[in-house]
């Protein structure tokens, strides 16, 4: 009996010793984020992932702010006020180093966005497409390719020699087209500029095929890519490649033959009668082909020291909402006498102080902290001017259609000026008028750098900053120091 008691106690002990363990707890599933293994397992996750690609593009270091800002402050129309390296005083002075904030962060964010696109495309091919179905799947992959193309194109504008220099034969970018989720893939050499442009065009062609013609809301038509977005971006890319016939081919798909110039298929993209409406809530007119939307919820605005209105408008006491990082160059485009005081686009200029403290500021973006102005990526007026320029350059004549396109942009803000073919002595005159119109029309929209680069023009001096010719150090940016340190195959500029 006693023995039996002991045995039962021992049995109890043994069972306790190997007491019921909960092995499932060894493999916890993250509850506040989604494991990469299941990111493409439902349609709602796939949809959120697509928007996540736009979210990455919208980051303050990229199209949420800084990419656009750098494009303008490299040019001659802004004057640095704060000498702050964090807000790009070195970019403005055309001498950023390999480890400059701008050089390192923009590179990293653009490639993060590219890798996100690659992972998305891989994920769709690996099963996501089956869940989304063929139509949506094609749409979403097209959106990812468009964003990838836009990132590569944007990186080329700062980190590589212009296409015009040797027809794209110069070093371009490490071209990464498959998703990276772990270690061991740091090393990759730079492809040529031409190779990267070819990939950009390929992606945009694929996007044109795969994107929907339009969405059901004006909001989505502005904040997500549709077919016309891919075409519009191609006019920009081909212009940078100086492939003017391709610009014409693409633009003609979305610009009617006669005024008023509008897109006749897909989203009815068109100029608005009043340009100031484009930069006001709800920011979703048909002129804004693609813009980055902002809200006042944390994480959904550009973030500290990335906001256009913070850079370009003065402090509150001077009537702005920002920090007055950059004023308009009094000797820049605003000094141009042909830009008439009655031009509606002059309403974006704020004058403060007098005498030696007289300053001009750009107020195109004016939403107060947390700075919820939508940031334009591409507007319809650019397509018109791209087409106009391409027509003049490809025919080398004072092309009447080009004059009409230029007038469309000029007249809507300045009824007093109407160009005719007779206004121009030469094709070159007309080209210069178009380039000047671009400076006026897109002031603060980040296009100035690209326009100087694609034509291999000298970046003019401004304020204390000296000019940079196409062969000067500083004409393009150096490569990120972090990339050079960790990618053994990457070379500096």
């Amino acid at each position: 009996m006693k023995k039996y008691k002991y045995l039962s106690v021992l049995a109890l002990g043994a069972s306790l010793l190997f007491a019921s363990c909960q092995r499932n707890l060894l493999n916890p599933v993250p509850q506040t984020s989604i494991s990469d293994a299941s990111a493409f397992s439902t349609l709602s996750r796939i949809q959120a992932s697509v928007l996540g690609l736009y979210g990455a593009l919208k980051n303050g270091n990229l199209y949420g702010g800084r990419y656009v800002i750098y494009g303008d402050i490299r040019g001659e129309d802004f004057i640095n006020q704060t000498s702050n390296l964090v807000t790009g005083s070195d970019v403005w002075a055309l001498n950023p180093t390999n480890s400059a904030t701008a050089v390192v962060n923009l590179w990293a964010q653009a490639y993060y966005t590219i890798n996100s696109c690659n992972i998305f495309i891989d994920g769709m091919n690996a099963g996501g497409s089956a869940i989304a179905g063929p139509t949506l799947s094609a749409n979403y992959i097209a959106e990812a390719k468009l964003i990838r193309a836009l990132c590569y194109y944007s990186l080329l504008q700062y980190y590589a020699r212009p296409y015009a220099d040797g027809n794209g034969s110069k070093p371009g970018l490490p071209l990464r087209l498959t998703g990276i989720k772990g270690v061991g893939q740091s090393n990759l050499a730079r492809s040529t500029v031409a190779d990267v442009y070819a990939q950009v065009i390929k992606d945009l062609n694929d996007a044109e095929t795969g994107l929907p013609l339009n969405y059901s809301s004006a909001y989505n038509n502005t904040t997500r890519a549709h077919r016309n977005t891919a075409i519009a971006l191609k006019t920009r890319v081909y212009l940078s490649m100086q492939n003017y016939s391709a610009v014409i081919t693409e633009a003609n798909k979305i610009v009617s033959a006669t005024a008023p110039f509008t897109a006749t298929s897909g989203v009815a993209n068109a100029l608005q009668a009043d340009i100031t409406q484009v930069f006001k809530t709800p920011y979703t007119t048909t002129e804004s082909i693609l813009s980055m939307p902002m809200t006042s919820t944390a994480g959904d605005y550009p973030g500290t020291q990335n906001q256009l209105a913070y850079y370009y408008t003065p402090v509150a006491s001077l009537g702005g909402v920002g920090n007055g990082e950059y004023s308009l160059n009094a000797n820049g485009i605003i000094a141009d006498p042909t830009w008439l005081p009655t031009d509606a686009r002059r309403s974006f200029i704020l004058q403060t102080g007098s005498g030696s403290s007289l300053k001009y500021w750009l107020t195109k973006y004016k939403a107060p902290s947390p700075y919820t102005d939508y940031v334009p990526v591409i507007r319809y007026s650019e397509v018109l001017l791209n087409l106009a320029e391409a027509r003049v350059r490809s025919t080398n004549t004072i092309d009447p259609q080009a004059v009409a396109l230029l007038n469309a942009v000029r007249n809507r803000s300045d009824a007093a000026t109407t160009y005719t073919v007779a206004s121009f002595a030469s094709a070159n005159d007309l080209i210069n008028a178009i380039l000047k119109e671009r400076r006026i029309e897109f002031l603060g929209e980040g296009l100035r750098n690209n326009d100087l680069m694609r034509l291999l023009q000298t970046i003019p001096a401004k304020g204390s900053a000296q000019s940079k010719g196409p062969n000067d150090v500083g004409y393009i940016w150096p490569i990120s120091a972090n990339e050079l340190a960790l990618n053994n195959l990457c070379t500096d500029n």
Partner: protein
């Protein structure tokens, strides 16, 4: 008996390396948690109390720093349940969870150091294991005790700062040396009584802290049931104004033998702690450069301005202090007085630690035991910034409230078999299993823009509301373990420990850890006595151990997983790739060797233990950056680095004098430790660790001890011109002047030509010119404790020391900064003034100069040897004679006076070389940047037993 993990053993039979500290050494001390009281008490145990903020966790290392990116804090096991460690606060008041254990309730602190002693804790053992055992009752009549003290704390060795007149004259002279700043003018403000202002900012930031502590315990029991019950209350004031620590705690331990076979028991401990602070002290990790940091404000603010306007209102200018009397330069620092008056940065901890066990002894050699324990920590953070001025000004008022809930449960089942064969073969076998589950949850709200200026609660009316402090985590550790002890006739001892852990937070979940050890008691050998060695040695034994353990402390809960996080795009939900996991990630591996011997001589009046150890750490987890063009959102963790610690420990105990009326017992211990990083990751040549993101002075690189100081060298001040002389990377002299007249340069060569460095640089920079300069890990440390007794008097003299390390006294750069900052008085004599001034420490004062004396980049002139010897404790007690007490039915009554940190011997110029601006950081020790130093405390107390 010592605690060895899942059991106890006789100290003499322990084969691993274990140090024993009696609970009495931490009782009745003006400390918040026990670790702060064990410095110098055992070899291999290194404690650094990092600052004077109450309840900030001490830097606690056993045998050096054993990790780079994970924690080096030892595993703390309280009555069998691993505890939370480090700071759980989200505010500026520190919250060390170990403060929930009332030091007066601690029976013993057993420190396991080598692989043999720690391997039973497997993957968590690399940093050592500390076993805390709380007091239990003994059979017999109920014993009631009361222990109480009152304490007075003061700051010490604060830098001597200029007064208003000295400051104003000195700064105006510096302005005269800088023609570009001629518009700047310093004047002295006029105070309320019409007299010139002369503010000693120490008076507004520091105070004499008055503390009190009371404990009552009742213990006792019958032959079958024993209990211990205690209640404690402590209310401590720190030396920084508004920094308080209040704790209420109770502990109940009970053990009951139900019958011959079954025993049950358990413990309940509850503690409520209020950690209070008004604002940042500038002393906790991450705070060093806070504009609100009180330690910094007391130094930086001009003595020529007052915290109050003549009408009694606060002297403020928007967020900062008002400085109407200073022209041409701004004073963008806060006025500490309204911050202390109006702001809060508090937290409140509720902490329950409890366990219950059932033990069966079916045969006298079999013990089965099942224990279930919990540790629940809840913390409520309450932060408020007034809109009047300071941090809350730009928000028009700011508050956040964060609640955190941290829970552990542990279920341990063991079977122990003790058997002696043939009278000489003693075998003890332990087998067990354990599950440890931890969950964490935190949430909070951040509110900005007060609706009414009189509100100061988070629940009041506010304009903007955002989520803050969101946290969620879980982990699970599933373990099996075993220990086999064998000895032959108490002469040869061998022991083996084995543990298999499976941990949810790793990619490779399963790991096996082990330790083997042996001891040979030579003095029991016949040859020993035949050689007559027993006439010299009362005992002599040698021991050794080797094993492999791991470290997972502080690793994230989901490291194997690559994850996508939710975000927003124009108000719509997004998913973005945000974390790169590593499905192959495993624990850091620590291979420990330990050999030593111990002996006693002179009829056991002198005993000694000597040990040599070497700890090779492999697979250190580092977050290794990939090329940015790979586009990864985070640096993936990899097991890649390696490091070692090696050293010698000597522990001497002596009963020097033993007479009826007088005795003197002494313990001396010293530990020698050498730390070296041997490898980082490919492409990762060094790891720089910043102090509060603004200054980087610690660099970890292969071939050096972890966190080596990395500074620019100088070669004094040029007697001719008063320029600072820097040394560039090649050791060439470069002369620096902040103001360069036309035709001269800021940085020039000795001949006055423009400096152009080998890489084309035209200035000295830390990136180009700094060198690996000094080690911050003490090479020797320990303590010397003396207990004297003369009749009814007792005297304790406890010295602690740390030697062989450097401290970067970053504060010193600020004390000699030539902006509007106030300067130390040594600037009056040690700054270059006239041509020919030789051997000056500081450059010619030029207003605005933040380069010459170390603010812009860390310089060697601010690196000092940290060597110190501290009179850690001095106490004198008197036991009231029994003859007096027995009439009052009191069994024991002792009164005492005790002092902490009464004296310090050091050449370190700052308040205290025992300091860390970066808390427990493994890679950023040895930095003193704007830290409020430790307190000197005098306590008066009594111990009563009934």
């Amino acid at each position: 008996m010592v605690v060895v993990g899942y059991g106890v053993q006789k100290k003499k039979e322990v084969t691993g390396n274990l140090a024993v500290i009696k609970g009495a050494v931490v009782a009745d001390k003006p400390i918040q948690s026990f670790e702060a009281g064990i410095a110098g008490r055992a070899p291999g145990v290194q404690i650094t109390v990092p600052n004077g903020v109450l309840n900030s966790p001490p830097v606690f290392r056993i045998r050096g720093t054993n990790s780079i990116s994970l924690s080096s804090y030892p595993l703390i096991v309280i009555d069998g349940v691993p505890s939370f460690t480090n700071d759980y606060s989200s505010t500026n008041a520190a919250a060390n969870p170990l403060a929930s254990i009332n030091p007066n309730d601690i029976e013993s602190i057993d420190v396991a150091k080598d692989a043999a002693a720690t391997a039973i804790y497997g993957s968590r053992a690399a940093n050592g294991v500390v076993f805390i055992t709380t007091k239990k009752g003994k059979a017999g009549k109920a014993k009631v005790t009361y222990d109480g003290w009152v304490g007075f704390s003061n700051p010490y060795r604060l830098p001597s700062m200029m007064n208003a007149q000295q400051y104003t004259n000195f700064k105006n002279a510096a302005v005269a040396n800088n023609p570009t700043q001629s518009a700047v003018q310093f004047n002295i403000a006029t105070g309320a009584n019409g007299a010139p202002v002369n503010t000693n900012w120490y008076d507004y930031v520091y105070r004499q802290g008055i503390s009190q502590n009371h404990n009552v315990s009742v213990s006792g029991g019958s032959d079958n049931t024993t209990y211990y019950f205690s209640a404690g209350y402590t209310a401590q004031q720190g030396i920084i104004r508004k920094n308080n620590f209040d704790r209420l705690n109770v502990l109940f331990n009970v053990d009951s033998r139900v019958n011959k076979v079954m025993t049950v028991g358990g413990k309940i401990s509850y503690s409520n702690e209020k950690n209070l602070a008004a604002t940042s002290s500038g002393s906790l990790s991450g705070e060093a450069f806070n504009t609100a940091g009180l330690g910094r404000l007391a130094l930086v603010l001009p003595p020529s301005i007052s915290p109050y306007n003549p009408d009694g209102s606060y002297n403020i200018n928007g967020a900062s202090i008002g400085y109407a009397n200073i022209v041409g330069t701004s004073v963008p620092y806060y006025n500490p007085v309204p911050q202390l008056d109006l702001n809060r940065s508090n937290n409140e901890v509720n902490h329950i630690q409890s366990n219950a066990y059932l033990q069966l002894k079916p045969l006298n050699w079999i013990t089965l035991r099942s224990t279930y324990g919990i540790d629940y920590l809840n913390i409520d953070n309450d932060l408020f910034w007034s809109p009047v001025t300071g941090d809350g000004y730009s928000y028009n008022g700011y508050a956040s409230a964060i609640f955190g809930k941290y829970k552990t449960w542990v279920w341990t089942n063991t079977a122990q078999f003790d058997y002696t064969f043939a009278k000489k073969h003693n075998v003890s076998l332990l087998v067990g299993s354990e599950q440890t589950r931890r969950t964490s949850l935190a949430y909070g709200i951040n509110r900005q823009g007060l609706s009414d200026p009189n509100y100061n609660l988070i629940q009041a009316g506010w304009i903007n509301n955002n989520a803050t402090g969101m946290g969620y985590g879980e982990n699970y550790l599933l373990s099996k373990f075993s220990r086999l002890n064998y000895d032959y006739n108490k002469k040869y001892f061998i022991s083996g420990n084995l543990r298999q852990d499976e941990y949810s937070a790793l990619g490779v979940k399963k790991g096996t850890f082990w330790g083997v050890s042996g001891r040979w008691d030579i003095s029991k050998e016949n040859f020993w006595s035949s050689a007559k060695l027993d006439h010299i040695f009362n005992s002599f034994s040698i021991r050794g151990s080797y094993g492999k353990v791991g470290n997972i402390a502080g690793i994230g809960d989901y490291t194997p997983y690559s994850t996508f996080a939710s975000g927003l795009y124009g108000g719509a939900s997004t998913l973005t790739f945000n974390t790169v996991g590593n499905p192959a990630l495993q624990w850091e591996t620590s291979k420990k060797t330990d050999v030593g011997f111990s002996f006693s001589v002179l009829r056991e009046r002198l005993s000694a233990e000597v040990a040599y150890y070497r700890n090779n750490i492999d697979g250190l987890i580092l977050n290794v950056a990939q090329a940015p063009s790979a586009g990864l959102p985070s640096n993936p963790p990899q097991n890649i680095g390696s490091m070692y610690n090696k050293g010698v420990e000597i522990d001497l105990n002596a009963r020097i004098i033993e007479t009826k009326n007088f005795s003197w017992n002494s313990n001396f211990n010293i530990s020698f430790n050498t730390n070296q990083v041997t490898a980082l990751a490919p492409g990762l040549t060094n790891i720089q660790t910043s102090t509060s993101s603004l200054e980087t002075v610690n660099r970890t690189a292969p071939g050096y001890a972890v966190g080596y100081l990395w500074v620019v060298r100088t070669a004094g001040v040029d007697p001719e011109t008063g320029r600072r002389i820097f040394l560039n990377a090649q050791g060439n002299k470069v002369y620096y002047q902040y103001y360069a007249p036309s035709g001269q340069f800021n940085y020039s060569n000795a001949d006055g030509t423009k400096y152009i460095g080998p890489t084309g640089a035209t200035s000295i920079s830390q990136a180009n010119d700094a060198v690996m300069y000094g080690n911050v890990q003490p090479k020797q440390y320990g303590g010397w404790n003396n207990d004297f007794r003369y009749k009814n008097f007792d005297l304790n003299v406890m010295l602690t020391y740390q030697l062989g390390f450097y401290v970067y006294y970053g504060t010193n750069a600020g004390l000699h900064d030539q902006r509007f900052w106030n300067n130390a008085t040594d600037m009056l004599t040690q700054a270059w003034q006239n041509k020919g001034d030789a051997n000056k420490l500081y450059a010619k004062p030029v207003f605005g100069d933040n380069v010459s004396n170390g603010s812009a980049m860390p310089l060697d002139i601010n690196v000092f040897k940290g060597n110190f010897v501290k009179l850690r404790n001095l106490s004198v007690g008197y036991n009231i004679p029994q003859s007096v007490l027995s009439r009052a039915k009191i069994s024991r009554l002792r009164v005492y006076v005790s002092g902490q940190n009464l004296a310090i011997i050091t050449k370190y110029p700052g308040p205290d070389p025992e300091v860390s601006s970066n808390g427990n950081s493994a890679t950023a020790q040895g930095v003193d940047r704007n830290t409020a130093g430790n307190a000197r405390t005098i306590t008066v107390g009594l111990n009563v037993g009934f």
